[in-house]
């Protein structure tokens, strides 16, 4: 720290306030229960956060482009149920691409409605939340979906496998985060997403085809959801129809916690990943501390609000707004 000036430290805090908040919570939970930092526990939390995380990556694109996606929870149930059902009918090699194709169709449909027809994304995706849930139930007839041969299938590799000593869900999450992070920060497409979300009219006058950018963002979201469904299905090799229920709000919380603006135009993949990890470690930390469940609801939100506050306070360099 010796070589850094006060300004440099301040600048770092302002950029990475959420990271600082994350470290503070990690220290807090470790003090409360030493096992929190156990490598097995860390690995377990990251592995189970991978599903939420993969979904949050896609939603980050949608949110930066100035829209919302509340359909991801239902859509994840849909992909999970479809891939489990098709696994026994046409085999995993065909079931996986078929499920991706079906999920992408849903994403394309939403992208068409929001991008090309310019319908309000909140209304469209809120509607799709129940519509896709209905679709899933119709597809499955309400039954739980289970793979018959749970021991023999290679399909379990996506959720339960290891490569290089790291669980496959984590690898998929990291891989997607790196690719999508590069796409967002290093390519013309990425800059267009920020432009469309930041100032749509200006973007149009700069020759950016807004509809196409928004459409592509929803495709990315669907692609991520399909990957999440694949991990989920492979992790438990069986599922209820409601497996993704409520995840849309957790995903949105993670994205916003990472600092993306609901108004569009700001946010990064890296910060979304931090947001996802904060949520995952809060849930796990509260379980390890052994707080009574009803209290956990409240405490979770107190922590999230604290994190957002720390982030904003770091950005403006003061704990409260000077012009209140």
């Amino acid at each position: 720290m010796a070589g850094l000036t006060k300004e440099q430290i301040g600048g770092f805090l302002a950029r990475q306030g959420i990271l600082v908040a994350f470290v503070v919570f990690m220290i807090g939970f470790t003090l409360a229960n030493a096992r929190f930092l156990d490598p097995d526990n860390i690995m377990g939390v990251v592995r189970s956060s991978a599903i939420l995380g993969v979904m949050a990556l896609g939603v980050t694109f949608v949110v930066i482009s100035g829209n919302l996606d509340l359909s991801v929870g239902s859509m994840m149930s849909f992909s999970t149920i479809v891939v489990l059902d098709l696994h026994d009918k046409i085999g995993p090699t065909l079931a996986i691409p078929a499920m991706f194709a079906m999920t992408l169709c849903l994403g394309a449909f939403i992208g068409f409605l929001v991008g090309y027809l310019k319908l309000n994304s909140l209304i469209v995706t809120l509607g799709m939340l129940s519509a896709i849930h209905g679709l899933t139930l119709t597809y499955s007839g309400g039954k739980n979906m289970d793979i018959a041969d749970k021991e023999g299938t290679w399909f379990k590799v996506f959720g339960q496998g290891d490569a290089l000593g790291i669980p496959v869900p984590i690898l998929l999450f990291v891989l997607l985060a790196v690719v999508l992070g590069a796409l967002l920060s290093k390519t013309p497409f990425g800059r267009k997403v920020y432009a469309v979300g930041g100032n749509g009219t200006a973007a149009t006058f700069s020759g950016i085809r807004r509809a196409r950018v928004v459409f592509t963002c929803y495709l990315m979201s669907a692609l991520c959801v399909a990957t999440a469904g694949l991990i989920q299905a492979s992790r438990s090799l069986g599922s209820q129809n409601t497996v993704g229920q409520g995840l849309e709000l957790e995903v949105l919380a993670a994205v916003i916690l990472g600092g993306a603006s609901l108004m569009g135009g700001s946010g990064t993949i890296f910060k979304t990943v931090i947001g996802v990890l904060i949520l995952g470690f809060i849930q796990n930390g509260l379980l390890l501390v052994g707080l009574q469940f009803y209290v956990q609801f409240v405490v979770t939100w107190v922590i999230i609000i604290l994190a957002v506050w720390l982030d904003i306070a770091a950005k403006r360099g003061k704990l409260w707004s000077p012009i209140a």
Partner: protein
Amino acid sequence: MKIRNALAMSTAAVTLAFAGSASAETWTIGITQNNVGVDSYQTTYEKAFIAAADANPNVDAVVLDAGGDVARQIAQMEDLIQQEVDAIIIWPTNGEAVIPAVRKAHKAGIPVVVTNSNIAEQGFDFVASFSGPDNITQGSRSAEIMCDKFKAMGIENEARVVQISGQPGYTTAIERQKGFDDRLPEVCPNVTLVETQPGDWNREKSQKVMEAFLVKYDDIDGVYAGDDNMGVGALNAAKAAGREGIIFVGATNFSVGYEAMERGEYWGSIYQSPVDDAEAALETSIDILNGTEVPFLNYFDTPKITQDNMGDFTKPVF
């Protein structure tokens, strides 16, 4: 109004004609279900109910489904009252909100049987009988299954148990937990229940909860889950962590639980058949219509199932 009256009269006339032609009395029994199609239990229940009603020549069934919607269920109750059915079976979408509709049926002289999960106590005066599982007994039986197994293993004096309960606030979850919590110290006073956390009836959530338990406690001998879906989630967590020798006991035996029992990974559960549930509801209403004495809480039996006796039970369809 005229048309509706005419309809009601013609329905009544048809019912009378039926009654006249059959040798025994014919009853029209209406049922409004909670949310068919949302899970396999309810789907199977509906099929079994229709089959049982078809098999009984003295019963005409009007089968409705509220789709989980309280307002629609109340409207369906009013329709059934309007149709002047002989008895109404209701699977409440909400234990409180349906009470006024149940009261209306009661005032119209139509006996109401509540099935599967009961309505709130202030509505009991308007209900002829409740037909369903006894969740407190289910919880105590799970405690007994677990205790018996510990005794067989010789660890009844030191075993440590964790519990994964159903969704907080739901009667079934609360009652099963109460049954388990109360019974375990009676049968196995030296077994410690170290912690209870909810798994929300969700396999994935229970897996997460169990992962945290496994990190927190080096020594877990038994897991009680409020249903097999959650129990299997916990089992998956233990398998992934390589922790062996844990005794898993659930409730509401699902096919996944039954299969895990076949593989020897899951010790036992409570067998609750949606077919028995549906048949018991129909039986209860027929008994009431025939004037047979029926207890107010008319539970159908939900026996213990373990790896030892599972051959006596068919694999659940849900």
